[in-house]
Symmetry: C2
Subunit: 336 residues, 2 copies
DNA sequence: GTGCTCTATGTGAGCGCTAACACTACCCGG
DNA sequence: CCGGGTAGTGTTAGCGCTCACATAGAGCAC
């Protein structure tokens, strides 16, 4: 066990060349004769040689690994994003090391970043959806390529985000277009940028339509909190349209409305956000806003690798537009 | 950018000792004078020194990283497991590198394992819930600590699994205990061990109660497939109890029954599997079986580290019992 | 044939660390 | 007062690789 495999010199010996030539073949350098290249490849295959990433990382100062710092990777959004990041990174030849973290405060983020740095990762992606994370990021070492996802739009850090405002605006407009006088909103926690953006988009759409936004109902992303808000909404006969900040909130609201005997979409229309795979099988199937996690991941990795290669800490940002997925939870409001 | 931080010799110089003494302090060796230890720690703090994991990995032959190979990390089960693994590994001072993989065939798994090995991970956890993965695992290099999760119970590889059979048996018995004559089952894909185990537990419970199992309905974990099965079930008046292989299947069945006007639990009782966070907010709240992902993760890491330390490839296995979470989707069958 | 460029390959150093061993005090028993 | 432990520390080698440079040979112009 743990028998060390062959090293570059073993390959070199077998191929009858120097270790440097093997290195050149491995790294795709030019100026290696085709015949030599083939001999080296054959030797590599014969010995089952595997380059030692640690040695390479030691001498180059960085490994082919991207560190990701994330909080709650069990939630649908973060989990999808993480998977997409991993996929994209793999396509670029990078592995992904996850450092999940209980809280997104300075200490936790900093510790996770430290762990990544001590492994000499090539760059770090921080999924930083809350206020406290933003502060933490400004105090981090500046000398490492870093990209934030879903972070604070106001901070001068390379950032990739879903356009929450546009998504929420689309959702709200969709409900207004169906004929509703106004749209209620069940939001996520107020320290999440996602929440803030979705609230903003909802408000904007209402104001643009000349409607005064009704009071905000705040949840915490969970179906449980959606249920509690839903119980309140069910008691208010004037409510005919609800936009929830995610699909799980919608599920909770849906159940509360169901229990109260208020039918969706006949009496109340609903739109969610996230397009979780089950949303099409809610009762009724939920109209929702779908963020493109693959696009987010691709933009993030691209921004990160640009920094790695250029050696400059750019402060670019990129915004990914979400799309509305129309199902059966929206209808015209009932006649009074 | 990428300015190399201080190295061990810098710390040594500042503390007025040799680099080796610094190494000893870092690795908690005995035989370092308390006063020296403090001087070294002070120097480390002053310089902001961070040990270089790559250099350590190079000389020791392994890094403080655990590789995880997984397929569909967007599904609730795998995502939870991954998060739990990461958490547990972090507590033991290990980082987790994810290598997700499109298919669980030999080529894909082998490639992911290779990638991990070239980074000299300390060990590998493979989440291998399907048949094809099992075959792949037997052809892998034997000289690296490896643990499978949710893998093939018949293969001689260290394995940690949720006790699918017991969980399914509990679910089925719960329905029988409520007075149902028989229990129908909507399963997952037949090449998943999870599915197979859940089918087996369901069958066992029925046979033990002297009931002939009704025909199996096979889904693919998705709410969509649950919906299709649900439409069939709704048309059969003799169906009064359904056990689905996961909660999302249950969601689909629930909607099909709802559309057909068959009430749950009044006419039909249901039990799911997984206890996704939203299950409590289905209509009605779903009784389900909860696997303990934390326990699985802990057992896996423990088994893995035992191999790392002992240097032997043990073939232990560990089974984690799930628990039934009772909600409102089960009732006595209707009087005929 | 001399001097040049260009390609293909080899040589040596060193990345930052740990392991093995060497060394220096100092204490102890006889 | 000397042999022999035992704490505390230093010295050296080398893990497997890449980088910078050295070298060798081929091709070509004059």
């Amino acid at each position: 066990m743990a028998v060390h495999g062959p090293a570059m010199t073993d390959v070199a010996r077998l191929a009858g060349v120097s270790h440097q030539t093997v290195s050149r073949v491995l790294n795709g350098h030019p100026n290696v004769r085709e015949q030599t290249r083939l001999r080296v490849r054959a030797a590599i295959a014969e010995l089952g040689y595997r380059p030692n990433g640690a040695a390479r990382a030691l001498v180059t100062g960085r490994s082919q690994v991207i560190g990701v710092v994330a909080q709650n990777t069990t939630l649908y959004g973060p989990a999808s994003l993480l998977a997409a990041l991993e996929q994209t990174a793999a396509e670029e030849g990078f592995a992904v090391s996850v450092g999940s973290v209980r809280d997104l405060d300075y200490r936790s983020i900093s510790a996770a970043v430290e762990r990544h740095l001590s492994h000499r990762v090539a760059g770090i992606v921080v999924i930083a959806p809350v206020e406290s994370a933003g502060e933490a990021l400004e105090r981090l070492p500046k000398d490492v390529p870093l990209v934030t996802v879903d972070g604070d739009p106001r901070r001068p850090v390379p950032l990739v985000t879903v356009d929450q405002v546009a998504g929420a605006r689309a959702a709200t407009e969709h409900l207004l277009d169906a004929g509703h006088r106004t749209v209620w909103h069940v939001s996520g926690p107020s320290d999440w940028f996602d929440s803030v953006g979705r609230i903003e988009g909802w408000r904007e759409a209402l104001l643009a339509a000349g409607v005064d936004p009704p009071p905000l109902m705040q949840g915490d992303w969970s179906a449980a909190s959606g249920y509690r808000c839903g119980q309140l909404l069910a008691r208010m006969p004037e409510v005919t349209a609800v936009f929830t900040a995610n699909d799980h909130l919608a599920l909770g609201v849906l159940r509360a409305l169901h229990e109260a005997g208020r039918r969706v979409p006949d009496e109340i229309s609903m739109v969610g956000f996230d397009d979780v795979p089950e949303a099409a099988y809610f009762i009724p199937p939920l109209t929702t806003v779908r963020p493109d996690f693959d696009a987010v991941a691709q933009a993030s990795i691209q921004l990160l690798l640009a920094q790695v290669e250029s050696g400059t800490a750019g402060a670019l940002r990129q915004t990914i537009a979400p799309s509305l997925v129309s199902r059966d939870s929206v209808a015209a409001p009932p006649r009074p």
